[in-house]
Amino acid sequence: MSLHLWIIPLLPLTGAAINGLLGKRFPKAVVNAIALGSTASAFAYALYVAVQFMGLPADQVPHIERYATWMTAGSFTAEFGIYLDQLSLVMLLIVTGVGFLIHVYSVGYMEHEGGYYRFFAYLNIFMFFMLTLVLANNYLLMFVGWEGVGLASYLLIGFWFLKDSAANAGKKAFITNRVGDFAFLIALFLLIKHFGSLQYETVFKALTAYPVEASAGLLTAIGLLMMVGASGKSAQIPLYVWLPDAMEGPTPVSALIHAATMVTAGVYMVARSNAVFNRAPIALAVVAVIGTLTAIFAASIGMVQTDIKKVLAYSTISQLGFMFMGCGVAAYGAGIFHLMTHAFFKALLFLSAGAIIHGLGGQQDMRHMGGLRKYMPYTFWCMTIATFTIAGFPPLAAFFSKDEILWKDWSSGNHVIWLIGLIAATMTSFYIFRLWFMTFFGEYRGTTPEDSNHGHESDDAHGGRGHGTPHESPMVMIIPLMILAVLSLAGGWVGMPAALGGSDRFDHFLDPVFHSTAEAVPGAETAALAAEGHTEHEQTSTELLFMLISVGAAAIGFLGAWFLYYKRTDLPAKIVQGAGGLYTFVLDKYKVDEFYGAAVIRPIVLASTNILWKGIDATLIDGAVNESAAGTQDISDGVRRMQSGNIRSYAGWVAFGAAVVIAFMVWKGVR
C-alpha cells in the first residue's frame, strides 16, 4: 500500500515556488492563501497519514516508499524515498502542525513588513526542506534537507538584510553550521566506505552484525562525527554561538526554525542513528556530556540576559541540551518526548514574546517592560502557561518530558549528569520566571507614547514607526497562541509515566524505532533497563521521589525569581554590584564569541588575507594570468612588424622561407 507521502513535502514546495516566483504581484490575501493553504493541506495530509499509519500491521513498519533512483555510482545507490516510522511520524506532525500555527501567526506579525511574499516563500521552503529531512529514507536525502533548512535559516535570519547585524547573523549561522555539516559529511563517507550504502534499512541491518565497541573504533568515529554535525544544527557546545545571534530574524522565524523545528534536527538525527550510538558507548557518553554541559552553560547565561528573545534563545540551547542528555543515556524516547513538548512550549514562548514585542512597537529589552498583564491579558495567560510548563510544574507538558529525562539519567547510573541537569532545571525555572515577572508584573517601565520607539533596541517588527501604549495583538496572532497553550498544557499527558498511573504511551509508541536494532545487542540498553532490576514497587516510589525533587527545583527557581524580581526589585542591582566582574562575564556570554574570534576567526582571516588572497590569489594566480597576457603582447609587438602590408616584403619572407627549407633539405640530404 502506498500512502503517497511525497505529497507532503511537495505541497509547501509548490507554495514556495508560486509565492517566490510570482508573489510580488499578488495581493496579501493571495499570498496568505497560497502559503497557509499549502501548509494546512500538508498538515491535514499528515494527519491522514498518521491515521493510516496506526492501522498498519506491525510487520509493515517502518513503511518505506521508493520513488526513483537518484544516483548510481559503482555499487553505491541513493534514491528518492520516504521512511515512515513512529519517529518520523512524530516529527512530521510536529513540523507540519507547529509550522502551520506559526504561518497563521506570521500573517498578523508580518502585516506591516516589506517583502511579505518573500517571507512566506522562505517559510514554505523551510517546511519543504524540514519535511525532506525527517521523511528521507537515506542519509543523503536527509543531508539535502539538512543543508536546505540551513539555507532557509540563513535567508530568514537575514530577512531584514539591509540591517548589518541581521546580515552578519545570517552569515554566522550559515558558516557555523558548515563546520558541523562537514563532520556530518565525513560520517556519511565513513558509512559509504564501510557499509556501501546510506539507505537506513541497509545500514541498520548491517549494523546488527557489529558488536558494541568497548574501545574507540569505527562506530565511535561515526557517532562522534555525527554528534559534531548535530551540535552545529542543534546549537550545542562548541557550535552553539550562532543561535543567539539568529534572533535577528523576525520572531515567528525564531519560533519556528530556531526553537521548535530546525534546531531539533540534530536530536532527530541522533535518535535516528540510534543503531550507531547504541554500539558506540563512548560516542553516546560524549552526547550526554555535551548535552549536560550545554544545558547548564546556556541556562546560566540565560539568567542574566535582558533581551527577551536572547533569554529565550539561551533557553532553547539549554533545552536542546536536555534532549541530548536524554539521548546520551540511550533514552531516545525521552529525548524525542522532550523535543515534542519543547516544540509546543517554546513556540508558544517565542510567539508570546513576539506578541509582546509587536504590542510594544519593537521593544525587546525587558528592563523597559513590566506591568503588561493588564495591557495584553490573552498574551499574559498564554505566556503564563508556557512559563509554568518550561519550569516543569505538573501536570504541564514539560514536567513529564524533563522529568523523564532526569529520571532516565539517574536510573541509568549517571548521577552526576542528573545532578547537573537538576541544577540546570532550577536555573531554567529561575530565568523563565524572571522573564515572566519582569515582563508582566510591576509597573510599566516603557517610555511614554510620545517618545517611545526611539529606543536603541527597537529593531524588530515595527522599528521606526511611532507607537502608542502597549496593546494586545490581533486575533490572528492570539489564536495560534491559544492552541499552542492547550498543547503545552496537555501535550505531556501522552507520556504520563507509569509511576503516576499513566502508561508511558509515548515511550512505548516509539519503542519499535529504538529497540528493533538494540535487541540484537545485549549491552545496548543497559541504561534504560538496569533500573528495572529493582522491584516494581521500589522503583515507582523512587521515581515519585525524583518527581518531587524536580518540582522542588522548579519551585526554588520560582521563589528565587519571585523574591528578586517581584518582592524586592532593588536587590538584583545590589547583587550585580556584589558579583562585579563575574556578572559582566556571564552577561558577555562567557566571552565565548570573543574567544572564538581570537582563536579561530582571526587566524583564518589573517591567513586568508595574507596567504590565500595576497599570496596565492593576487601573486600566483593573477600573476600567471597577467604575465602570460603581457608576454603575449610583447611577442605580438615584435611579430607585428612582419605584417607590413608591403607585398614585396611578404614575397621576401616567402623566398626566405623557401631558402630555409631548401637549405635544410640540402643539409639533411633530399632522401
Binding site: G645, N646, I647, R648, A651, G652, A655
Partner: protein, 100 residues
C-alpha cells in the same frame, strides 16, 4: 648531348633572377614579367627532366603551365590597366588603399 645539370643550373639562375626582380622592382609590369620569368624557369626544368627521363608527362605539364600563365597574363594585365586608370601610377607601394 648537354648534361641535365646545365639546364637545371640555367633554370635556377633564371628563377633567382625572377625572384630578385619580384623583390626589388616597384613597377607592376616589371613584377609581372618577373613572375613570368619564374614560371618559365620552372618550365625549363620540366622540359629538361622530361627529355632526360624520356617521359611525356613533363611536356604535358609545361603546356598546363603555359595555359595558366596566358590566362594569368590576360587577367593580370586587365587588373594593371584598371589600377592605372584609377590610381594613375604603376608603383606597387602606392597601391595601398587597403592598408591601415
Amino acid at each position: 648531348m648537354i648534361p641535365l645539370s646545365y639546364y637545371l643550373v640555367l633554370s635556377a639562375i633564371l628563377f633567382a633572377c625572377g625572384v630578385a626582380g619580384f623583390l626589388i622592382k616597384r613597377n607592376i609590369i616589371t613584377i609581372f614579367m618577373s613572375i613570368e620569368l619564374m614560371l618559365n624557369a620552372v618550365n625549363l626544368t620540366f622540359v629538361a627532366f622530361a627529355a632526360d627521363l624520356r617521359m611525356l608527362s613533363g611536356h604535358v605539364f609545361v603546356f598546363f603551365v603555359m595555359v595558366v600563365a596566358a590566362a594569368e597574363a590576360a587577367v593580370g594585365l586587365a587588373i594593371i590597366i584598371a589600377v592605372f586608370r584609377t590610381r594613375e601610377t604603376l608603383n606597387v607601394d602606392r597601391v595601398n588603399l587597403l592598408k591601415l
